[in-house]
Structure formats: structure tokens, C-alpha cells
Amino acid sequence: MHIVVCIKQVPDSAQIRVHPVTNTIMRQGVPTIINPYDLFALEEALRLKDRFGATVTVLTMGPPTAAESLRKALTFGADRAVLLTDRYFAGSDTLATSYALSMALLKVAEEFGKPEIIFTGKQTIDGDTAQVGPGIAKRLDYNQLTYIARIVETDTDAGTIKVERRAEGGLQVLESKLPVLITMLEASNEMRRGSIENALIAARAEVVTWNAAAVGIEDLTKCGLRGSPTIVKKVFAPTARTDKAEIVEVDGKVDAKAAALVEAIFAKAPAVEQDLLEHAAHHYV
């Protein structure tokens, strides 16, 4: 079985800073990480590798520095890393990204075997669109299983997979024929710590690097900014809320504390007191 996991290198959003003067996002010095949702996808792929002896390829599109994330994926135990990088891809939105990635996936299929399963995280933390996974599935004509919480069963002989999908209002149990594209939900598993052998292999590994031409992209108008109908009009930092949480400190019993708390709330928001009084009056008439 061949599994491809599509990952993305993203800025660690917990550490992003906004320049206090120019109000722009300061990317310099912000550490990059593997999109956290993609780690759930990668771990799921590695579990299938453990069970069925599958080969796991990680694929990313990004600047040359994205090779760091690929190498990290190898330390967890992936077998092969492919970097799709070209200046023509700069500024890609989800439409252009899914196009470029699907072309790279066709090339992966040609070079290393057709993937039975393509994994992605449910979305990235820098774009939050959740569109690239489904975009790839559509372009490659793969069945798609999105927001998957658990893989219940994989039947390699029958070529089927059964999963649990978290949907609004409940849990769906779905079965699909392979090949399939799966986007994994957070907390669906826990990433392993790779062995020392994996770490050494990763440090030594050559990352397969392809540009647009190498994956057979001829029409560059489908790539990068030119191929992206979505336009970022403006970036701004939301202003911080001015009201701060207040701590009411009272000694004494629970009742006294509760009374003091209610009083503090009424003092802050007289409308609440008014509402409650009216409500009470209504009830006890």
C-alpha cells in the first residue's frame, strides 16, 4: 500500500507578532512548524504503515525552507519526502494550490506508485479554509472523507476503508472504496516519537525536489497569484478588547461570595438587574 500525506509548513501562530508601528505581520524570526492538523494525518498514515507495511510519502508545496518540515516528518517515520517548490507558486490560493499539488500527486503516482490513500489535516492554521484537501480529491477523482475522527477498519483485499466522521448533529460511519482522500480531525490520535534510527535516516535523507516543469505543469497561469481568484485585500490586527476581567475578592462563606459576585455584576450592568427584577415580578404576581 502506498500512502501520501500532504503537509504544510506554517508559521507558529502562537508566536506571530504584529509590528506595533506598521501594523503588519512580522514573519521574521517566527518559528515554522508542521501544520498541527497535518500531524494527525501523518500519525494515522504511520499506523497504517505499522499494520500493513505501507510506504508513506510526505508531500508539501512551499518555499525551499519547507524542506525542514519534510525532514521532521521523516523523523517520525515517513519513508520519503517530496518538496514541490517554484517561484511560480508564490501567492497561490486554495484553487491554485490544489491544482499544483494534484499535478505533483500524479507525478508521485508515476514515480513511486499510485497512492491508495491521500491524507491531509482537516485544514491549516494559517488559512483555515479546509479547501485544499477536497480540491485535490475532486481534481484526482478520488472519493473524499473529510473531518475523520477515526479509521475503523481497512480491508486491503476488498480495497475498502471504514471511518467515523464527525458531522453536525452526530457521528457518521462511512465506508468507501479505495483510493480515497481523507482529511483528519484534531485529537484523533497522538503523534509518536520517532526512533533514533528514524532521526538518523531523516538527517541523512535527500528530499525529492520538483519544480512546476518537473511535475508537468505547462500552463503557468493556473499557478501562484495568476491562478488565484482569491485576493487578500487587507491584513490588520484586531484591536484588543478594552474591558478586562475583574476579580471579586470576598472572604467568608459561599453565600457571601455569591452575594458579593451578584452585587458586582449588577453594579457593572444595571440592565441585568432590571431584567431579573422584571422577570421575578412576572413570576411571583
Binding site: 506595533p20 524570526g29 518559528p31 533514533i196 534510527e197 528514524n198 532521526a199 538518523l200 541523512r204
Partner: protein
């Protein structure tokens, strides 16, 4: 899996200045080097003020100025003696420091170390991150032959292990090569990074372009403990911090945080930080024991470099340059032994200590070997009494209040004599001179 059993020429534990210097030099000379760093990337766990002394790095990567992320080159040094409300200062500023190849730079370690690590990889070393060396592997004779890590799998073998693991020396300790670091020979320093627009920094410190200022301060700011404070200008931020000997903290129950808050709010420091935004805080141990605290540095199959060897010149606030230099000298020793196909025995590796003895590292540490103890034993005077006396003398002298100068001189002298006997002061001065020589 056979290739995993082939031993490396050398394993370097840690990717700080000493480890990077050592791994880089050995890899550049064609040795098969593995470097193991516990942080997510080199620099992610590393903390320093931070000043980079060009000379030590120049001897390793001569063209570093073209590539390394540097903040400002230092053109002005201020030494401040502080009491609670004042500072008496000695400033030295020179346009000579605006030379083509400046002598000192302020740096941000997270960025600088990452760059240095990229050079190590370029030179051909294999670097593992997020991997902690837990202990050394020894053969039956006690010779170190490899390392074990916190990752699952077999130990990794090498002809020699270079311990560039930092001040705590945990691997060395666990492997029985050294004692625990003593609380009276390490300082705990805390620092904050304050963001300020570069124009503000330049106006506030009278700088242009990439010029920078360094302030080193001592006095009542450490509340009678042995320690110093500092303030360094970076490109778009200011590093401000303070540190004291760990056993002093334990004795006084003062917290590092209190000390830093008080230092930042000192009337001489506060205006320099006005309107800044604290973006980062960090704490680190600094080896301050000097020459007398240096542990055993070599043995069969192992060498200690950098902070792990206590290589810090506390008097001159130098550390990273000693780290890089010891790393370089260890590399030269290992390279020459490897080339001659000699075994990494204790006797052969002692060559490292011989070479260190001929370098500025050991000469400087030897010169000041008495100072750490002197300052620590007389901390009440050096970090309390004298700064206060100097400050009050300055004030008496400069305040114009209708009192004649002869009376002022007498008052200053009386103040000194009453606070600290003539013999006491002369004794301290004598001891200082002796320790300095």
C-alpha cells in the same frame, strides 16, 4: 541497518556556540560528525545577553559578517556603579569601533545559533534536533564509546564524544565524569527583550545606523548579592537583565523576578525602556566560578567544551568567545589525532588541555582565579557599601549648596572612614589588586 553500527569519528552533544564551533571545525576537516541537540532547532533553548565577540568566530568562519544575523556593533561601553537612586558611570565611546570589521556585536541567540547550525550542516555534519543525550556508553575499560538518547533504539557509537552540553553538565554528571555544579559557582540570570522602534533606540542612545551601546551595572541593584545587571541595544529591541549567584538567592530569598522589576524601574534605567513592549523573557545559569571551578576536561573518549567546562570570564563578561575557542581547540585536537590514526585515549586527549593552556582562555581565567571568591566573600562591601559610598561622595561633590570644598572633602572622607574602616578599605583594595594581577 549495518551503517548505524559504524562509529562516527565524533559525536558532539549540544548545539550552542562551543558545540557548533567544534562540530563545524571537525566536519570542515572531513571528519564524520554527528551533533545532537535537545532543542527543536539550534538556539531554541539557548540564552545569553547576548554579545558576540568577533575574534573567536572569525577564527572559525572568517566571512561570518556577510551572513550571520547580527544586531548592532558596539561602539560604546558604559560601566555603572548604582545605588537606589543614582548611578556613577564610566563611559567609553570611540569612533574607532566603527571599523570595517567591528570587534563586538549584539546578537539574538535564537537567530544566530540557527545560522551557525546551518553552517555546521553545510560543512557536512549530521545534526539531530529534538533529541536528548541521556548518558554516555562506556566499554569495559571505562572508555567512552558512544551515547544513548531519549529516543528508542540502539546507542550511537563514536571514537570520541565532545560534551558541549552547557552549564549544568547533566550528561557528564550522570555518566560519573564530574560533580554537580555547586550553587556558589553559578549565577542565575534573568532577562527580558523589550521591543522599541529602531529610530527610538537610536535617538535614546545617541546612535546611528547599526551602532550599539552596552551597559554593565553593579551596586545595590543586586540587594547585597554577588551579581550584575546589563542592558544591551539590539536592532529593534533592548535586552535588559540581571543575575546573581544562586546560593545568594537561596540565602536572601529574593526572587530573580523582583530583582529584574526593581532594576527596570530604577530611575537610571526606566527612561531607557519607556514605551517599550516586553516581547520575550528568559532565564539561564551562568558559570561564574572561574578557574577554580573548572571540572576534569578530558578522559578516555571524551572532552568537555564551553559552559560545561565553566569557561566564563566573569570579570570581563566574556563567555561565548571562550565557548567557541574551546570548541575550536577541541576540534583541532580531535582532527589531528584522527589524521594520525591515534586512539582517543585520556593521554592523547590531554593534548586539548595543553593547547588550552597556551590560549587566552586559560591565561585569562588563571589571571582572575581569585576574583570570584573575593567578590563573593565580601559581597556586602562590593555590592552594597562601596556603591553607596561612591554615590554619596559624588552627590556631596556635585551639589552646590554654599558649603566650601574643603569641608566637602572632609565630609566625604569621614563618611568613607565611618562606614568602612581605613584598614578595611585598604585591605579590600589590596586584595582586589592581588586578585587582579
Amino acid at each position: 541497518m549495518g551503517e548505524f553500527n559504524k562509529p562516527f569519528d565524533a559525536i558532539v552533544v549540544g548545539a550552542g556556540p562551543s558545540g557548533n564551533a567544534c562540530a563545524y571545525m571537525m566536519a570542515k576537516e572531513g571528519l564524520n560528525v554527528l551533533q545532537i541537540e535537545r532543542g527543536e532547532y539550534a538556539g531554541s533553548k539557548n540564552v545569553q545577553g547576548a554579545i558576540l565577540y568577533a575574534d573567536a568566530l572569525e577564527k572559525i568562519i572568517p566571512e561570518f559578517r556577510d551572513e550571520a544575523p547580527l544586531e548592532r556593533h558596539v561602539i560604546e561601553q558604559r560601566m555603572w556603579m548604582m545605588d537606589d537612586k543614582s548611578h556613577s558611570g564610566m563611559h567609553y565611546r570611540s569612533d574607532d569601533f566603527n571599523e570595517e570589521k567591528p570587534n563586538r556585536y549584539t546578537i539574538l541567540r535564537a537567530q544566530f545559533d540557527k545560522w551557525f547550525s546551518s553552517k555546521v550542516k553545510e560543512a557536512g555534519a549530521l545534526v539531530l534536533y529534538e533529541t536528548t543525550v541521556t548518558e554516555l556508553v562506556k566499554d569495559l575499560s571505562g572508555k567512552v564509546i558512544g551515547v544513548r538518547t531519549d529516543r528508542q533504539g540502539s546507542p550511537i557509537m563514536a571514537n570520541v564524544v565532545i560534551l558541549a552540553e552547557g552549564v549544568n553538565g547533566l550528561v557528564g554528571q550522570r555518566s560519573g565524569l564530574r560533580n554537580e555544579v555547586s550553587p556558589d559557582s553559578v549565577a542565575l540570570a534573568v532577562k527580558e527583550m523589550h521591543f522599541l522602534p529602531r529610530e527610538t533606540i537610536e535617538a535614546r542612545f545617541n546612535l546611528s545606523g547599526n551602532e550599539g551601546v552596552v551597559i554593565e551595572a553593579m551596586g545595590t541593584i543586586t540587594k547585597g548579592m554577588t551579581g550584575t545587571g546589563f542592558l544591551y541595544t539590539n536592532e529593534e529591541s533592548i535586552s535588559v537583565g540581571i543575575g546573581c549567584i544562586v546560593s545568594d538567592f537561596a540565602e536572601t530569598n529574593v526572587t530573580p523576578n523582583e530583582l529584574l522589576e526593581a532594576f527596570k524601574n530604577h530611575p537610571s534605567i526606566k527612561p531607557l525602556l519607556a514605551d517599550s513592549e516586553c516581547k520575550e523573557y528568559a532565564a539561564h545559569l551562568i558559570p561564574e566560578g572561574g578557574y577554580k571551578a573548572i571540572p576534569q576536561l578530558t578522559g578516555a573518549g571524551w572532552i568537555v567544551v564551553g559552559d560545561a567546562g565553566q569557561f566564563v570570564n566573569a570579570v570581563h563578561r566574556e563567555g561565548s568567545n571562550l565557548a567557541m575557542t574551546t570548541g575550536r581547540i577541541a576540534a583541532e585536537t580531535v582532527v589531528s589525532l584522527t589524521r594520525k590514526r591515534e586512539e582517543m585515549t585520556a593521554a592523547n586527549l590531554a593534548e586539548y588541555e595543553k593547547r588550552l593552556g597556551q590560549s587566552f582562555v586559560m591565561k585569562d581565567l588563571k589571571k582572575y582565579k581569585g576574583i570570584p571568591e573575593l567578590l563573593h566573600k565580601n559581597k556586602g562591601n562590593f555590592f552594597g557599601t562601596y556603591p553607596k559610598l561612591i554615590s554619596s561622595a559624588m552627590q556631596t561633590w556635585f551639589r552646590v549648596d554654599g558649603i566650601d570644598k574643603i569641608s566637602k572633602e572632609k565630609a566625604i572622607f569621614r563618611n568613607f572612614r565611618e562606614t568602612r574602616t581605613l584598614w578595611g578599605m585598604m585591605g579590600d583594595a589590596f586584595k582586589m589588586v592581588r586578585a587582579w594581577r
